[in-house]
Structure formats: C-alpha cells, structure tokens
Subunit: 334 residues, 2 copies
Amino acid sequence: MATIYEVSELAGVSLATVSRVLNNSDKVSPATRAKVEAAMRELGYRPNTIAQSLASNRSNSVGVLVPELDGAFFGIMLSSIEDELRAAGKHVIFSAGHSDEEKEKASIEFLASRQCDALILHVFAVSDEYLGTLANGPVPIALIGRNLPEIPGRCFSLDNEEGSYQATRALVELGHRKVAYLAGPLWKSDARARFVGFQRALAESGLSFDQALLAEGNYQEASGKQGMRSLLRAGKPFTGLVSANDEMAIGAIEEVRERGMVIPDDLSIIGFDNVFFTRFMNPALSTVNYPIDVMGRMAARSVLRDVYGQEGLEIRNRFEPALVRRASVARHAQ
Amino acid sequence: MATIYEVSELAGVSLATVSRVLNNSDKVSPATRAKVEAAMRELGYRPNTIAQSLASNRSNSVGVLVPELDGAFFGIMLSSIEDELRAAGKHVIFSAGHSDEEKEKASIEFLASRQCDALILHVFAVSDEYLGTLANGPVPIALIGRNLPEIPGRCFSLDNEEGSYQATRALVELGHRKVAYLAGPLWKSDARARFVGFQRALAESGLSFDQALLAEGNYQEASGKQGMRSLLRAGKPFTGLVSANDEMAIGAIEEVRERGMVIPDDLSIIGFDNVFFTRFMNPALSTVNYPIDVMGRMAARSVLRDVYGQEGLEIRNRFEPALVRRASVARHAQ
DNA sequence: CTGTTAGCGCATTCAT
DNA sequence: ATGAATGCGCTAACAG
C-alpha cells in the first residue's frame, strides 16, 4: 500500500501538504491540490485509517451494543444506524449483550477499548449507576430504550406505558371485560412500564386487575407459550390477552391453538413491538408499533452532532407508540 | 488514559517488557510479570488498540458484508460470526451491500480501507472476476453462499440444487403432478441452482416442465405475491408450489388467501431457507433448511485459521440442505 | 529474561 | 500557501 510519503514524493510536495488535501482543510492552492490528487490516483493511494486514528486520536468508528444481533427487532435498528453512520463516513462495530449484566459490561469494555468515538447502547441488565459513570467517562454514549438524566439529549425512548395502555383500551372498547396480561421480565424497566399501562387502562375502564390473569415471561416465544398455559390452567376465564411483546404473543397463540381454540373468535390477542413478521401471521397479529428504526437513526444522529460536530440534524428523543389493528382481535359479544 | 509508558515506569521495567506481558508472549519472569500486572491494574491501564494495530500492522478486526443487516436470514449469520470472532478477541465491522453491485463494491472498499485483517462476504451482485482480483489482493476474503476456485478453503456453500430437488420430489411423492415454481432472480447463481434442482426433480419423475408454471421474483415478499398472481392468471392449474425462498412463499400465500383458497387443501407450498418465522406461520411453512448460522461460524473459523494462525479448528465448507416438513403441504388426491 | 532502538502512517504545531 | 519537525502508543527486531 502506498503511503502518504510516496504520494508527497511523486507530487513533489511535502508530507504535510498531502495531509491537507486529504483532510481538504486549510487552504491548498488548486494547482498543488491537483498535483497531489493526480499522484494519489496514480499510486492508488488509500489513507491508512489506523494511522489517521492514532495521530488524530479519533477512530471514526462508533460501537453499537444490542441484546441480540439476530432477531427481528434489533436487526432493524442495526440497519438504520449503520445506514446513517456510514453515510457520514463513520464505521460501526456491533456487539451483543444477551441481556446479561456481565456480558453487557464485557461488550462495553470491548467496544470502548476499541477506541470507539462513541457508543450507542440498547442495554437492560446494566444498572443506572453503571451507565451514569460510563456517561461521565471519556467516551460519549447514547441510549436507546432507556433514559439517563445525565444525558437527556442522547436518550431515545418510547412511551411504553402508553403503548400497552392503548392496546388494553382497544380490547376493552371491543367489549372485553376479562383481559389477561402476559408480562415481560419485570426487572426490566420497559416491561414494568408496559405492565403499568395495562393496569391503568383497566382502572380507567372500571375493571379490576386480577392477579390470576397475569403471567410473567422473559420476552421469548417459549415463555409466552408457558405463560398462556399457566393462565389457562388457573381456570379464570378471559376473552382478551395483551402480551408485552410479539414473540411471547406467538408462543401464547401456539398454546391456544393446541387446545383447539380459535383466534380471534375464542380469544383476542394484541402484541407489542410490531416486528415485521406479525404481518405474516394468520390471523395477522394486532400489535403496538415501536419505531425502532427511526429511534436508531436518531441515536446515530445524536452522536454525529455531539461527537463529530455535524450540524442541522433533525433529532427527536421521545416517541409515541401506535396501535396497529389487525385480524387477531374481534369484538366480544357480551 | 494511561499508556504503556507510565506502566513501565511504575513497574520499574522497560517498555518492551510491558508489551511482552501484554501479548503474553515470550518468556517473562513470573516476578516481573506480577509487577507489571499490578501496575497495569493500579493505573487502570487499557491498551490502545489503534496503536497496537499501527505497530503490528494488524487491526484484529474483520469486516463482514451482508446483503441486508435486518431481515431474518442474515441476522442469524451475523450473530454466529460475531460470536465466534469475539470469543477470539477479534472485532467485527458490518456493512450492508443491498444486492447492488456498486454498493457492494463500495462497502468492500469501505471495509478494506478500515484495515480489516480479513473480509467475510455474502455478496451476489459483484462478479467472479472482481472477487478473483480481490482474493489476490492484500486482504484475505472468505465467501459465504458462493464458490471461488481461487480460495476453495474459504468458500462456504450449500448445495442449492439439491435443496429444491428435495422439495420438489417431496411434492411429487405426495401425488402432485402439476407443480409450479417461483424462482428467485435468475441472475443470482443460487437462484439458478435452485431452479435447476426443481427441473431435475421434475424430469426424474417423468414430469415435463411447463413454462407457464414458472414465475420469477426477486426474493422479496411482494414479488412472491405478484408471481403467484401471474401464475394464477395464466390459468394453468397446479396443486403444488415450490418457492425459491420463504419470503416469496409468504407473498404467494397472501395472494392465494385473498382468493379464498386454503393451504394446504387447495395448494401445497414449500419454501426455502427455513427462516425462523416459518414456524410461526399458520399453517407452518414447509421449507428447506439452510444452516446459515453454522456456515457463518465456519467462515469465521477459516479466517481465524488462515489469518490469525489459530489451529485445531473444525471446519466444513460444503453443506447439505434438509427438507423440513410442516403443515403447508398435503397429499394430493389424484 | 530484559532493555534499546526504530519505526508503523499520519496529523499537527510551528516556522517560512 | 507550504515545509520541517515532533509525537500518537505500541510492536518488533536486535542486543545484552
């Protein structure tokens, strides 16, 4: 690989001048600029980004940590982040945290040691305190799906409570009086918020919350199936189910089907997240839209703005969920 | 951030010795090693990977290029690659090629300029010639879903022809005599191979291929729907459909349903790839399993072996598809 | 086993 | 507007 040295030699200018046209900064006379560019072309010169980083103390790469690299939900986010950052010439390094505190921390260490200029994190297991000290450290962070008072401008979140509130209200308005809830892992803040929204909707509708109509899962399909089984076993009848996410709703549907029940005739179901395959289900799953793609994009923009000094970026921090009505819900004849 | 220099000073040893314990290479006396490690701990020392890369001419990062970062299929692959490489302390930089020649090339340039030690590519649009010269260049590449004679040891592929052969045979053995085919974009080698497998199965079963029972799509859902529409419009009756991938099968199913037809009673359908949500469909989609996760893992291992000198890795290059029978197919009463 | 000496390729003061 | 000099933090011979 040709170096800046060879370019400067071929162009008959100094090393510094080549560096200048490279960063097209300062004032370089059009003539010398042309000479240099010709030399670069002739040598097929590509700047060594590692050396650039060492010298400038900037890696031009941002680390992204998600719970899972596969899965329908985060892929969307990764995609929009990469898209936005790549357009700005920044590199993206991904890592998975697997919703485990130690792994999340290890991944963060991993990314930080990679001299990332910033980190975009979608984490659950790690504590607010940890994030707080991290935010006060040398490498700026942005948070998706979580709020940290220290960095309000770089937190991007959805009103989870409002989402399940809407979902629950929709069911109630369709005549459902007995509505069960399949909760996410309640140690996660978003799962708690979603559960609160469900309870609030019930209360506002004059319905009382029945502990027997609650099951807690871990956001995964299997736990949804199991949750539905325990709900059914409890023996308390219900005609509607709100699930804290789509995956668990799918598990619930499996269980329901195996018992010969029909959706939505025997049970109306609403999920949460609007992952893309909910459309493919039969019947299509009603759900609450979670604009994870634009949230990822916004997080990317916030680092473009705060870390790379880019200006004029349109950025929003708070997002509203929106109910997506599909065939998995039906009116309940009282 | 503390540097190696401060560590050496605090530990009372030379800079080189610190470097040695860092790379735990060579022979360092346990005593000095302990001193150095204590100093590192005390200073909270983290090696600067950028500087390491510059000095060693090795970035410890490998670039991965996939058609899409979202989507069910590639997420699995990204996940297993990251998993394998991360365990070896290597970083992964992802980029998306969007099945477009210019974008694929741009992404490759992008990754290469990032001083990746190796590239793992899942590309379609780029020509064999291009890949050939790339393979002869300075940065080693591994290929998934494609074969390049220059680097047989770093190509990982599935016998696509065999996959659709099996799918088609399965339908024929269930009594279907009129089987339609929803092809992928035939400029892609895998789409061609799958189509060939279909034709071979037909021929071996003594059935003739009918051009009116063929539609070509682009692997996306919408094109499957449209393909099915044109197939239906053609007016030639058929009782079975083999789709070149699952997404298009889903589109086809939508179209079929809108016309009031029932699966599998009126039409048996088999997809290809076994993306995870095929299980969630109703009826669950029969398909051909594509072990993209282990293929990704193998590609990662090949670079671990060839680029980083790791030994004793179990690596396989060729993979066999396997039919996954589910509810979307039924016997055809002759 | 440990220390010395050079760079890796580039950005960035300072001069001019 | 351009050039010379210095160092980013570390690895890698080469000595000793």
